[in-house]
Each structure stands twice: as structure tokens, then as C-alpha cells.
């Protein structure tokens, strides 16, 4: 598997994150495909990204850390869940978001939400980091997950085409 994929999976295990909920994306698939064949993880593909927020939050409050994978378009489907559940109840969830609307984007429908994801996270005071290359990647992923649990709110780990270099879909 690609180095960045392995680093993410190792970080999840390092932080005892064994429940993963996601809605697919072709680049995130490089990670979720490995996760699905790894017996360490319980994987719940959901019908909508907002549902992932509920599932991951339920897992956390029952004692098992959980992370979410989604595309930036899906982030747009999550806002009220994050603001009315995770923030007031203080439920930390690492959320991996593949950013659309970046270099090479061909689909106008993806542009605004992709480019608005980080400004919206800023407005909501939800911390985020963007992974553009594999420099210090282990520290960035693992260190931000640690920060997530210390803050007791969600934290977005955004990945861009510069990291995964994959096909955009």
C-alpha cells in the first residue's frame, strides 16, 4: 500500500480507533479498502455522511474510539450534526476529508464546497490540518489525532491531490 495510507492506518491503531464509518471517495478508497480487509477494524459504510457522525459518536460514547472518512462534498452534509451534537456534548472524532475543488478539479459541482470546507471549519472553531505531502506525515497524523482527543471535539484531517495523486471522482 502507499506510504501515506500505511501511516494513516498505523496512526488509527496507535490511538485505538477501531470503528470506522465512511461514505466512499475514489482517493479515500485507497485507505478504506485496506481497512475493510484488516480484522482490527469494524467498518460501517453509511448512506450519508451525517449518519457517519451519529455512528462514530455512538461508538465513542460507548467507549470505542471511532474515525470517519468522507469527501468534502459530504462535509456539507454534516454541519448541523457537528454543531448540535459533537460540539456541545464534547465528542471527539478524527474526520478524514478528501478535498475536492483543488488542483485539477473538473467538476464545477465540487468546487464551492471543496474550497469552503476549511473556511467553514474555521467558523465552527473545529481544528484542521491539510496533508499535502509526506513530510513529517507520521507526526502530523498522529499528533493531530492526539490533539483531537485532548480537545474533545472533532478534528478534520484534510487530504489533497498533492498527497494521494489519485484519480478524482
Amino acid at each position: 500500500m502507499d506510504k501515506w495510507v500505511k501511516i494513516i492506518i498505523d496512526s488509527l491503531k496507535e490511538h485505538n480507533i477501531s470503528v470506522i464509518s465512511y461514505v466512499p471517495d475514489i482517493s479515500i478508497d485507497k485507505v478504506t479498502k485496506e481497512i475493510e480487509s484488516d480484522p482490527y477494524f469494524k467498518v460501517i459504510p453509511a448512506s450519508r455522511e451525517e449518519e457517519c457522525i451519529g455512528i462514530a459518536s455512538g461508538s465513542y460514547v460507548s467507549g470505542v474510539n471511532s474515525a470517519i472518512f468522507m469527501q468534502s462534498s459530504g462535509f456539507g452534509n454534516c454541519i448541523n450534526a457537528l454543531t448540535s451534537l459533537n460540539l456541545p456534548a464534547r465528542i471527539p472524532i478524527p474526520i478524514f476529508i478528501n478535498l475536492r475543488g483543488e488542483i485539477g478539479e473538473f467538476n464545477i459541482a465540487q468546487v464551492t464546497m471543496g474550497r469552503s470546507t476549511k473556511p467553514i471549519l474555521d467558523v465552527l472553531n473545529i481544528p484542521h490540518v491539510t496533508l499535502n505531502n509526506d513530510i513529517n506525515l507520521e507526526k502530523k497524523v498522529s499528533g493531530n489525532i492526539t490533539l483531537c482527543y485532548a480537545s474533545k471535539i472533532p478534528l478534520a484531517i484534510c487530504i489533497s491531490p498533492l498527497l494521494h495523486g489519485g484519480k478524482i471522482a
Binding site: 460501517i44 451519529g54 460514547v61 470505542v64 456541545p88 456534548a89 464534547r90
Partner: protein
């Protein structure tokens, strides 16, 4: 078919028969009534009550996330307005098929607290059939308290996931709004689920 079932009575029966099972309640009067009932039955705070105050639609999704981490029965007390916002969760539940998950939908066929506007279940949507078509192992419909008591008791011993659609009616009054304590809810609930007795509030 006269509807005689009150959400309050239904939840009282659930609380009296659920032992230490996690109960997740929908926002609004459902969580308010559950809180008042817990006081009335002198079991307050019930650490395994997961009250929700927002994120409408996610009650049963949260319950799904809880159900995969325990072997105990997990009970979601949802509403029709809430569930209709997130019908996809029924298909996810049907896919993952946790045997310990019971979804009780208090179906009053309306959004009550916002002015009693009718929802789609007042027209053509039959949530029991939706659940069945999503792969729920057991589905039931109840319209009176005795029917509910028998169904719920039976459900505690069935391999689910189980859906109970309880046709409820509103009384025209809402209970006093309870303290909104999402962070305490999580703290108590999570420590209870992790058997952490030292961190009791």
C-alpha cells in the same frame, strides 16, 4: 383504528424492563419525558440514558454506533419526524444487522413541538414496512399499551435488529423542559459503558 398509546406510558414500560441497557432518546419531548420518568421511578441519574438535544435524525444512528460495542440490548426511542430525516439509517442498520438493536419509533404522525404539522407517516409512509424492506429481522406495530408491553417484552429475547412502530398520540401538553446537559450525558454514559466507577460525577 383509535390510537390510544401515550409515549410516556410506553417509555415507562421500557425503563421498567430494560435493566442496564443503553437507551438513546430522540430530541424534544422524548428526552424530556424520559428524564422526568427517570426521576419519577427514582432511578435518576440513569447513567445509560443517552439524551439528545439536537442533531435531529441521528438518534438511531447513534444507537447503531453503540450497539456494535456491546452485547447488551440497545434501545433507541426515536420519532417519525426524526427517522424520516434519515431513513438511510434503517438501510445501514439492516446491512450491519446488529442482533441487539431495538428501534422503538414513537410515531405520532406529526412534528409535535413545532405546531403539530403532519408528517409523511400520516399519509402513505409505513415505517414498519420500510424497516422490513431494509432487512430488519423483526418488525411490529402497536396501537395500545398492552400490545406494546407484550411486544417489547418479546423483543428483549429476539435476535434483531427489531423495529417497533408505536402509534402514539399527543396530549396537547408538553412536559417541563429538562436541564440540557449534553456533556454530562456523555460523561456519565461513557464512564458507565467503560465500567469506570472511579470517575463517577
Amino acid at each position: 383504528m383509535e390510537v390510544k398509546l401515550l409515549r410516556y406510558d410506553l417509555m415507562k414500560n421500557i425503563l421498567q424492563n430494560s435493566e442496564n441497557s443503553p437507551i438513546i432518546s430522540n430530541l424534544g419531548p422524548t428526552s424530556d419525558e424520559l428524564w422526568h420518568l427517570t426521576k419519577e421511578l427514582e432511578i435518576h441519574p440513569r447513567e445509560r440514558n443517552f439524551y439528545t438535544y439536537g442533531s435531529m435524525g441521528l438518534c438511531s444512528s447513534i444507537a447503531l454506533g453503540i450497539s456494535i460495542n456491546t452485547t447488551e440490548k440497545v434501545i433507541s426511542i426515536d420519532g417519525d419526524g426524526s427517522l424520516l430525516m434519515n431513513l438511510g439509517t434503517l438501510s445501514t442498520i439492516g446491512r450491519i444487522s446488529p442482533a441487539n438493536l431495538i428501534i422503538v419509533v414513537c410515531d405520532n404522525e406529526m412534528w409535535a413541538q413545532t405546531g403539530y404539522q403532519p408528517t409523511a407517516t400520516a399519509f402513505n409512509t409505513d415505517l414498519e414496512k420500510v424497516a422490513k424492506s431494509c432487512g430488519f429481522k423483526n418488525t411490529f406495530k402497536c396501537t395500545n399499551i398492552n400490545e406494546f408491553k407484550n411486544t417489547f417484552s418479546k423483543s428483549l429475547n429476539l435476535n434483531g435488529p427489531t423495529m417497533i412502530v408505536a402509534k402514539t398520540k399527543e396530549t396537547g401538553e408538553f412536559p417541563e423542559v429538562t436541564p440540557v446537559e449534553p456533556e454530562f450525558t456523555v460523561y456519565r454514559f461513557r464512564n458507565s459503558m467503560m465500567n469506570n466507577n472511579e470517575a463517577k460525577l
